[in-house]
Amino acid sequence: MAEQTTTVAADAVASAVSSDDGNAMQVDELTTSAAPASGSSPELGATTEEAAEPVTGDSFILGIDFGSEESVLTITKKRDSVLPFLVHNPTSHVANSSAFAIRDGQRLLGDDALAQTSLNPQQAVILSKRFVGRHGAEAEAEAAAMVHCRLEQALASNGPRLAAVLPSLEAPMPVFLELIVAALLKHYASFAYRDMVRYGANDGDGDGDGDGE
């Protein structure tokens, strides 16, 4: 069932977001690697072993704690004994809000979206983590009690999943919560990229001086 979901979302990647095949292929590797990692006995040195494994050629690993209300990121440098350090956002805070909102046809992410939830709660998606990947039948009553934007079942090839309906979209259609979470993750990752550039080790040539040469 997990593999079915992954395959469907890989289709969603191809249709909704223009993504290359290299990323979609990583999903199958993920399902095999995530299953033992979420088990009960990881090795103590697992993080460093993962760090030594070359995946994309970049030199950092992001640690993402995607929370229901706030999210926190850390950066670990591969093949280095430096401890993970926290990522600060442009307002110098460690915690980023996990809210999503739409205002005047433009999407708002993070703290901007959180401010928008008070002004126009129908256009905001909060607590997306609680309902992502879940099916409508099991979580609809729970969703009706907790969130204010409309969540409804959207027909997916592996069954009805919960999706958000934001009235201010030009053509109001269900938006899968995976896409909202993806937008948030990309938003957070941009802060991490900024810190990588600042710390000068993501310059692409591996010598860590930040000049790219």
Partner: protein, 173 residues
């Protein structure tokens, strides 16, 4: 400064990431979160539990007393018990209360490995506490000012205010 910010918002290359989820997360939700990371252009390496991630960080980075490094006897110990079975295990309880989930893990540390002995979880968190405080404040407001009826946006603002007030209240022992 702002120009640097806007320039660097465009990711240059895909980054690997490790995501943490609550223990209560079902397999479908874990897969959906991984899909979201792939859509965002990240390469998810693993999805681990919140408390397990904390335990790994604690074991690797924080508490060196868990694995005392005594240079005179370490080689001897390693020869006697290569799997670390003779060294006494230490147990640490990790509690993680988020806004929606409460996770508790009991982790056993040995010389070269950690093991999650037991886990427990509940779907109650700070969000529910904030809601209770906000609904109490709303009921008090309704008693004092009869005409007030909370609109949706007003109740959102009230919830946020209550949360901020609760977070800024100093803990007293």
């Amino acid at each position: 400064m702002m120009q640097l910010y806007w320039q660097s918002t465009t990711p240059v290359q895909a980054a690997s990431c490790v995501l943490t989820v609550p223990i209560a997360f079902e397999e479908a939700s874990r897969a959906a979160l991984a899909d979201a990371a792939v859509i965002a252009g990240l390469v998810p390496l693993a999805i681990i539990d919140d408390t397990t991630a904390a335990a790994i960080y604690y074991g690797v980075c924080r508490d060196s007393s868990l694995f005392p490094a005594s240079p005179d006897s370490s080689a001897e110990k390693a020869a006697a018990s290569p799997d670390g079975a003779a060294t006494p295990a230490k147990h640490v309880l990790f509690v993680d209360m988020g806004s929606q989930y409460l996770n508790v893990s009991l982790v056993e540390y040995r010389k070269s490995a950690l093991r999650v002995v037991a886990t427990a979880h509940d779907t109650v968190g700070g969000w529910h506490l904030t809601n209770e405080i906000a609904s109490h404040v709303a009921s008090v407001l309704k008693v004092g000012y009869v005409a007030i009826s909370l609109s949706l946006s007003l109740s959102h603002a009230l919830t946020h205010s209550c949360r901020d007030a609760a977070e800024q209240t100093p803990c007293r022992r």
